[in-house]
């Protein structure tokens, strides 16, 4: 295999994992846009959703039926989390909010362990085996499937936000909650909706990554770090940025793992750290984000 096809091969694989990061990053960005919160529990909520999907499939439901059910459950769950856990600290200092989401992280992680134990579970691969041969580059159906699903999710979100009245209302709240409230929008409900959507998008990432990583309560810990890097790179208030950032982080991770011997597979998790640090030091608002101007 020539070096060029080898490189392309790595890029394709990077895009595959990047799509998963993009989807979790998108969930983070959604919540950040609506509430100004970075949800440290986002990955764990996605992991919980994945367990729901696993339970449904294990009890005999076909995967493609279990998926929409899981997404619906995640949506409801996300709304519930906003109402019960986040609403009481809305407007509190950042420190308080971060600590609450960290508490949620610990709780959800342990809850999954309590219900489903910490043993690793096989998660069914929804896409067919085999691969497509594109001029010597092997593209697994599963990689294509992941990219396809994430693309569909993004398309749907775009339609929702740009072409529906609910989307308009949501954008209004994200843009200026106080004005939105004054013009008669029930801001609280919109925030719940935002969290529900984020949990759904996050659930997609969990379900997609589970066949690769295998299902266990700590499955999403690593993915969350990559998603943080993706969201930081793209800018925490830019959905497009999250997607671009996710793909970039995925490719960067795979390439460094493959070509930089010092890093290798085990130290790949240093890549997001370097990306986060570099972005924050050079362009803190991210590639697509707007710089926040603060008045003291």
């Amino acid at each position: 295999m020539s070096t060029v096809t080898d490189l392309l091969q790595q890029v394709v694989e990077g895009l595959g994992s990047g799509a998963v990061y993009a989807s979790l990053a998108l969930a983070l960005v959604l919540i950040h846009r609506f509430t100004g919160i970075v949800n440290f529990a986002q990955g764990e909520l996605a992991m919980l959703s994945t367990y729901v999907a696993w339970q449904l499939v294990a009890s005999g439901m076909p995967f493609w039926l279990a998926l929409p059910v899981t997404l619906a459950v995640s949506f409801a769950g996300g709304m519930l989390v906003e109402r019960i856990v986040i609403r009481p600290v809305q407007g509190a200092p950042e420190l308080t909010v971060v600590i609450v989401t960290v508490g949620l992280f610990i709780f959800v992680n342990a809850l999954a362990g309590l219900i489903w134990s910490f043993t690793v579970k096989d998660f069914p691969q929804p896409f067919p085996d085999g691969a497509l041969d594109l001029a010597g580059v092997r593209v697994d159906w599963s990689t294509l499937g992941i990219i396809g699903v994430v693309a569909v999710v993004m398309g749907l979100l775009y339609l929702l936000f740009q072409h529906t009245s609910v989307g308009l209302v949501m954008r209004a709240v994200a843009c200026n909650p106080a004005s939105a409230r004054l013009s008669g929008i029930r801001v609280g409900r919109v925030l719940m909706l935002g969290w529900g959507l984020a949990a759904t998008v996050g659930a997609v990432s969990g379900v997609l990554v589970a066949p690769v990583l295998f299902l266990e309560p700590n499955m999403m810990g690593g993915v969350l770090i990559y998603a943080f890097a993706a969201a930081t790179l793209g800018g925490f208030d830019s959905p497009v940025g999250a997607v671009v950032g996710g793909l970039f982080v995925g490719v960067a991770e795979t390439l460094t793992g493959a070509y930089v011997d010092v890093i290798g597979a085990d130290l790949k998790v240093g890549v997001p750290l370097v990306i986060i640090l570099a972005v924050l030091l050079v362009r803190p608002q991210g590639l697509f984000g707007r710089a926040a101007v603060e008045r003291a």
Binding site: V89, A110, G270, I276
Partner: protein, 387 residues
């Protein structure tokens, strides 16, 4: 209520009370290892050691208002510094303590520089990803750190003249270091550095206008805080005699933050209570199931943030405040008909005199919380509201 606060909080009485507390605490601390079984003494030792790490984290989070989700990494750095020195260079235990402290101080200084530009969330992100990155890094540097097998080193040995058992001697050594560390943290907060830190936490711009050098103090806060974590890590190596990358996963960092929050942010003895939590909650609830400590911790953190942002350390003060408020509220209520006959025409106005009585004490009681009064020069009540 006034008599209560004066009795608790002023002049000679207060000094006497403080001296008495210290004496009793010292007596209990010194007596404990002769009373408890070796395993319990070991647990107490661990509580003391965690308290050092939490005191450091408290400097940064509670008093500095910066968030670190990566203090486990500094803890690990301290532990490995000590272990490597003992393992490869056979330096003896005493030399490892200043080395770990200095090393982690410098490491913290290095991290403090990006921390200047990173506020709140971003600092949390960076520190978290550092904590996630460290274990694989330790595994990789196998020639020095022993890889995933870790390093086994000598524990502390009691000298013959002491006549103490190993667990007792270890306890006393850790107790001494902890006492010094906690005293240092307390004095640091009462110094210029501490006041600057509080000013920065409460209003960065105002602090800068008042002449506080922001960059210097934010970086130093990180460095001091990392140093405490490193010292705790060094003690860990002394006590356990074994380090491995898996003992310092990012769960440790999160547990430390959790312990601090439950114990009480921005409180001087919150770290001790928090350390007891970090030690005993897992060991007690682990019998129920592997997941139980996490469930308990997670729920507790959220609950504490909702109902008692001052943590366990602030709880007595809050309860006392609530009780005195209740007493205060009933007292004027009895007086109302007599004292203000002009209002006492019907049942409706009767409700009004109540509300000033309600808002009055709540405004005065809060700053008079014993917990805050203890930390008086430190001054600021823990952050519960947006500035």
């Amino acid at each position: 209520m006034n008599t209560l606060t004066t009795a608790l909080g002023t002049g000679r009485l207060r000094w006497l009370r403080a001296a008495l507390t210290v004496l009793v605490a010292a007596a209990v601390a010194v007596g404990a290892p002769f009373y408890f079984a070796p395993f319990q003494v070991f647990q107490l030792t661990m509580v003391l050691l965690y308290a050092v790490a939490l005191a450091g984290l408290n400097l940064l989070v509670g008093f500095g208002g910066q968030i670190s989700l990566g203090h486990g990494a500094f803890f690990a750095a301290g532990a490995y510094t000590a272990a490597v020195m003992l393992d490869r260079y056979d330096t003896g235990h005493l030399a490892t303590l200043p080395a770990a402290a200095a090393g982690c101080f410098l490491l913290g200084l290095g991290f403090g520089v990006p921390a200047l530009r990173l506020r709140g969330l971003y600092l949390a992100l960076v520190t978290l990803s550092f904590a996630v990155f460290l274990p694989p890094l330790l595994k990789r540097l196998e020639s020095v750190t022993g890889g995933s097998m870790g390093l086994t080193v000598d524990k502390l040995e009691p000298p013959a003249w002491s006549g103490l058992a190993e667990d007792q001697w270890t306890y006393f050594v850790v107790l001494a270091v902890t006492a010094v560390a906690l005293l240092l943290a307390r004095n640091l907060l009462r110094s210029r550095v501490g006041r600057a830190l509080l000013a920065v936490r409460d209003n960065e711009s105002a602090a800068e206008v008042m002449g506080v050098r922001l960059a210097l103090h934010k970086t130093l806060a990180f460095a001091w805080s990392a140093m405490f974590a490193g010292v705790a890590g060094c003690l860990y190596t002394w006590v356990i005699g074994f380090v491995s990358p898996d003992s310092f996963s990012f769960v440790l960092s999160i547990t430390l933050l959790a312990g601090l929050v439950v114990g009480g942010l921005a409180s001087l003895y919150g770290p001790l209570l928090g350390a007891a939590f970090v030690m005993y909650v897992p060991s007690v609830s682990q019998d129920l199931s592997e997941a139980a400590p996490g469930v308990v911790f997670g729920l507790l953190i959220i609950t504490v943030m909702f109902v008692a942002p001052t943590g366990l350390a602030g709880l007595p003060g809050r309860v006392l405040g609530a009780v005195t408020r209740r007493l205060q509220r009933t007292a004027p209520l009895d007086r109302t008909p007599g004292a203000e006959p002009a209002f006492g025409a019907g049942p409706v106005p009767d409700a009004h005199p109540k509300s000033p009585a309600e808002s009055g004490p709540s405004a005065t009681v809060t700053p008079a919380d014993p917990e805050v009064a203890d930390a008086e020069p430190v001054g600021a009540p823990p952050r519960t509201e947006k500035e």
